[in-house]
Amino acid sequence: MRQKTFLNLLLAISFINVASGGPEQSVVQITNYTQQPDWVEPWRFSPVSGGMGSGFVIDGQRIMTNAHVVSWSKQLIVFRYQDPKPYQATVEFIGHDCDLAVLRVADPAFFEGVSALEIGDLPIVRSMVTTYGYPAGGRQISYTSGVVSRIEIQRYVQPNNRQLLAVQTDAAINPGNSGGPVIQNGEVAGVSFQGQPGLENAGFFIPPSIINHFLKDIEDGTYDGFPAAGIGIVNLTNPAFREALGLPLDNVGARIDSLFHPFPDTHELIQENDVLLEVSGYEVGSDGTVIYHGNRVHCAVLFSEVQHGESIPLKIWRDGAALEIELPLYVNREDRTTGNQYEPPPYIIVGGLVFTELSSNYLGSLGRNWRDKVSADTLYELIYRNRLSEAEARAKPVVLSKILKHPSNVDFAVGSRSILTELNGQEISTMEDLRAAIKSTGGDFYRFRFLSGDEEALNRADALAAEKQLLQQYNIPSVQRL
């Protein structure tokens, strides 16, 4: 037994020796075979396509990469540094909001001789960093290096409706680099993830604070995501507005202009026109920024350091006095339809009428001129209605995405891309409402009313017969998926 332990120790030392060759030993190439859903005909999936990216080994025999590298995966293959053997991997956790994912490889041989990279600290601007990865699909690892150009809040393209801290560098970051580590002093200073069209010599990587937040989040076995306060913060530079609020002209404090839904704690604790003086002990400037590791960054950076359900200390100015508030932050899952989604969309077919959820993905799938194809009313339902009171918001509007023509519906006069608001007098705000309304229909007709005011009807018996035929005719696996 003692001998065995000794052998293990020897083995471990030898691993360290192998790994000491450099971080590239821990960098992996990822091939992902994907199939994406069709948002207009949601039972259909695209032909299989392949994509390549990078990743790196972290502690616990796991691989870290970008969420977008492993999204919509049907088959995931990873390759070790200079090893031709393909290993099959699975996604253990995926955080689309922060574009990070953790993979597992079933074969323990994959991790032999490979050591985990340590997550380091936020690099300082103008310091040098080196990227490791497999850009443009080559089989040889590629290195690029450059300086840290700036550190700011950026829109993350993967969710498209989230902004988190990101580091900009002039080290080349190209497609295929995604998910690879950015190294400084032998430690991970970030994960390469996106570029920006029109901005030359600029790539972006995900900083350690976001990586650590993600890793801490998944410790309990579920990924919650990055929470938000549900407040709209705007500058408070106008002297008259400062005076009206009883604040000195000292450039401290940004104004909370609006409160969003659904954040009940925020509505209870915060009021419109409260002024944010401090967040987590950091003084907030009149433009909403704080000094964060030497960088002037929007104070949103501090809200993303908190985990779902935890509170953040705020110092607020209200009615001429400062007060301390502990504001609980929660992940907003209600805005999923305004960002990129990574679950196949729900659908319900009624007599050949295909209904799905109105979403950014749905509109995006209508092509480049999508804004010409949908009414202003429809866009309003998706983008603006939820900014009204909760009572006025229509939760997740249902859109008629397609009519599968059949003799029983061929003269249905309402066209696709219309928003359904009523079925047989029952209000429809979600796909679930529609499912329930169909289930409770007892009469001879389905009577539809749309957002435009148009009404139409289908004979229920004809519709049910049509569904059967159409499912067969178009190889549709099921009449609904919710």
Partner: protein, 476 residues
């Protein structure tokens, strides 16, 4: 048949205004040069100068007919006849922009010498060839036109519905009231052109506009203020208990133009209008012109204020209702689509530029207008308001620092008062709260609140106007 008779009597009222001699364009057709003011709704205090050349035709003594298109903002009209270089100053006798009809006169007797009016065709030809005439560089240009079809369409200048004749011709840059003739009779004036296809404002409609204008009761043009969906789908009729096929349309919206909610209700099936059966596409068989959409019946056979019998299906049974044809009133639009002969309205306060939301402003914004503005501009009403105002931009100054980036934001309230128009803003700014002006934008906007110093505003506004060389703080 009663209605057929009605139409015939109406046609008889349009007896030829001139003799039956063959048409000589040299003595009937004139070229009109319109000099006018042109407004830029993106910088509403800027007035530009513009000139338009179009055609007119004599239809009687001291009556030169042309389309209204291009006349808005005019302050000088000059007319050339016979290809001569001499220009005669003309007066605008009357113009109906919404119907797209105008009549001019020339006071100088010399102008009328040797000129002959043409007759307006009593009916619209539906097949065959027509001739198009216009003046070009002192010579008559004649082109052949082939009739495409007649349909019930919208006026180029408003939501009015009337018959439109489309023809095909290889004439270039047309649509400026070129005259269209069938032999010696005026069939209509060109209203617009797209490639080789021209839309003609028919003489029959023009005659109706002229006739209504001359009537003592000042009846005006009517409009069916309801929208409908075709009832081609038999299940839609059956779901309302009507066991028939291919009849009627279902009312989906009433009073969208704010004119009337008389007679009809949402969900009614319209089966007959004015004695004509309505098919499931909303068409009737016109005794003169065959199958047409019912919308043009409002202007073709009736005047505003008249009662039109409708047969509808409501509550599971056929019923008769009388629909009093409302007179078009374009000022009742929640978001006015057009503004003619009026400069854009604006009000500048502390560098904030406010403008009412209307069609010309939206047109100036083009395709990239903010989606929220797009949404509100298509609403038929909102909170019982009479209109909406946008903060269209900010003229940067120390006074409004922090607000420079606000553009095309919808105003909700100022100092607690609801804002429907610029006068509301002027009034609200007279009652500041605690020496501040508090402006609230619509709830859906990215920024909802701003505050300005009330005491300094007046002086600041003068300073900003001077700095940006703007002649006046408002145009109401």
């Amino acid at each position: 048949m009663k209605h057929f008779a009605g139409l015939t009597i109406f046609c008889l009222a349009l007896l030829p205004l001139a003799g039956g001699a063959s048409f000589n364009p040299e003595t009937s057709l004139v070229e009109i040069e319109v000099t006018k003011k042109l407004y830029d709704y993106r910088t509403p205090w800027i007035i530009r100068n513009d000139q338009v050349r179009k055609n007119g035709i004599l239809i009687g003594p001291h009556r030169i007919l042309t389309t209204a298109d291009g006349l808005s903002g005019q302050y000088l009209c000059r007319i050339k006849k016979g290809g001569e270089s001499r220009q005669y100053t003309a007066q605008l006798v009357w113009v109906d922009y919404y119907a797209n009809v105008a009549v001019l006169d020339v006071a100088e007797p010399a102008f009328w010498k040797g000129m002959h009016p043409v007759a307006l065709a009593q009916t619209i030809p539906q097949s065959g060839d027509l001739q198009i005439y216009r003046w070009r560089a002192g010579r008559i240009e004649e082109r052949a036109a082939e009739i495409i079809r007649l349909y019930s369409g919208s006026s180029k200048m408003s939501y009015l519905r009337h018959l439109v004749l489309t023809v095909s011709s290889t004439i270039d840059s047309a649509g400026w009231s070129e005259v269209v003739l069938d032999g010696d009779q005026l069939v209509g004036l060109t209203a617009s052109a797209a490639k080789d296809k021209l839309s003609i404002l028919p003489a029959e409609f023009i005659a109706k506009v002229i006739e209504l204008r001359g009537r003592e009761d000042d009846a005006g043009l009517g409009y069916f203020d309801f929208n409908y969906i075709p009832a081609k789908n038999p299940a839609l009729l059956a779901s309302k208990g009507l066991d028939r096929r291919d009849v009627g349309v279902v009312v989906t919206e009433i009073a969208a133009k704010g004119l009337t909610d008389d007679g009809l209700q949402i969900s009614d099936i319209i089966l007959e209008v004015d004695g004509f059966p309505i098919d499931s596409e909303g068409k009737y068989v016109d005794p003169d012109y065959g199958r047409l959409a019912m919308s043009s019946l409002a202007t073709r056979a009736h005047a505003a204020g008249e009662s039109i019998p409708f047969k509808i299906w409501r509550d599971g049974k056929a019923q008769s209702v009388d629909y009093t044809l409302p007179r078009t009133d374009f000022d009742k639009d929640f978001i006015p689509e057009h503004r003619y002969d009026q400069p854009p309205q604006y009000l500048i306060a502390g560098g904030l530029v406010f403008q009412p939301l209307n069609g010309p402003l939206l047109e100036a914004l083009g395709k990239n207008k903010p989606p929220l503005i797009d949404y509100y501009s298509q609403q038929k009403s909102f909170d019982d308001r009479s209109g909406l105002v946008v903060l269209s931009g900010v003229l940067p100054d120390d006074y409004n620092i922090g607000y420079e980036d606000l553009r095309y934001v919808l105003v909700d309230e100022i100092n607690g008062q609801e804002i429907n128009n610029l006068n509301d803003i002027a009034a609200a700014l007279k009652t500041p709260e605690d020496e501040f002006h508090r402006i609230r934008f619509m709830q859906e906007e990215g920024v909802r609140h701003i505050v300005l110093d009330a005491k300094a505003m007046e002086a600041v506004t003068s300073r900003i106007l001077q700095n940006y060389r703007i002649p006046a703080e408002s145009q109401l």
